[in-house]
Symmetry: C2
Subunit: 169 residues, 2 copies
């Protein structure tokens, strides 16, 4: 127990970590990410980046590595590494663009699709469990708020470079 008791933040501006939204978001995200990761890491030995790549390629096949990076909010180094391990485990197939031979074209293999088919329901059911404490209207609001905050965070981010999802259309 804090000997002096409490709150020694003598600034005019008080930062209460436990009410500080960035901090709380980070706590929430950590718990959620770890929970989901556990579900697939154990059974399929997938890392988080690997799983993201599978998920995005399941939905948008034939992306290049950089396009994957944009959609996944990962940087290209992380994508490169995850792609290599997915190629090694034969869950991914890589071709190269005829016209531009720098550009890779990534698709899931049958094995990759199989992994997706088994992991996706687990992920979705986790999300369902997580959200079912909220009312339908709270869920809608949550979705809207997250969207707004992401947009806003991007606006005020000091040119963070790559950790930005959603390719500009």
């Amino acid at each position: 127990m804090a000997a002096t008791g409490d709150d020694d933040a003598t600034a005019g501006d008080r930062l209460h970590l436990e009410r500080f939204v960035p901090y709380r978001l980070s706590v929430l995200t950590n718990i959620v990410s770890m929970s989901i990761a556990q579900a697939y890491a154990r059974e399929f030995s997938l890392s988080i980046p690997q799983w993201r790549i599978i998920a995005v390629l399941a939905r948008f096949p034939n992306l290049s590595a950089i396009e994957v990076a944009e959609r996944c909010a990962m940087d290209k180094v992380a994508v490169s590494r995850a792609v290599q391990s997915l190629l090694a485990s034969k869950r991914l197939v890589r071709a190269y663009d005829k016209g531009d031979r720098r550009r890779s074209i990534l698709r899931l293999s049958a094995a990759g699709r199989a992994v997706y088919m088994r992991v996706a329901p687990v992920a979705l059911s986790y999300e369902k469990q997580l959200l079912d404490t909220l009312s339908a209207s709270d869920r809608r609001v949550l979705g809207r708020l997250i969207g707004r905050l992401i947009d806003r965070a991007r606006e005020i981010a000091p040119e963070t470079g790559v950790t930005t999802a959603e390719p500009r259309p």
Copy 2:
């Protein structure tokens, strides 16, 4: 086969990454954390764990390492390391409990408080900027939703051990 480049997720259960709440939370948190970290990492060479420890000790002085860990949602190894570097940079003072000599007692030094005084306003102003796209009522709702989701995530987390903040009172 969708060579057209769209939605090949032929499962009955479709995972739309861009609508998947855990994913969106992770994107949001990444952008936010990196933005804030940049602010203090550059000027004060503080890592995220270091900054968290400073913030929590500014508010609750004389905690032990484990109490810090609980409040920061960090594990004790991370705390140990961050404490060491903060001791090395003279931003922290460590004493040991008279009654229980295993137990450390951590406090900010004058230098540590000075860092806090300069970083806290930056963090708060970032939060303000982030949230000022939302109406006052949306902000309240957001706070409530995050709280609910953290509780829920803890409930359904498969005994993740330590990544859990808020000591039980």
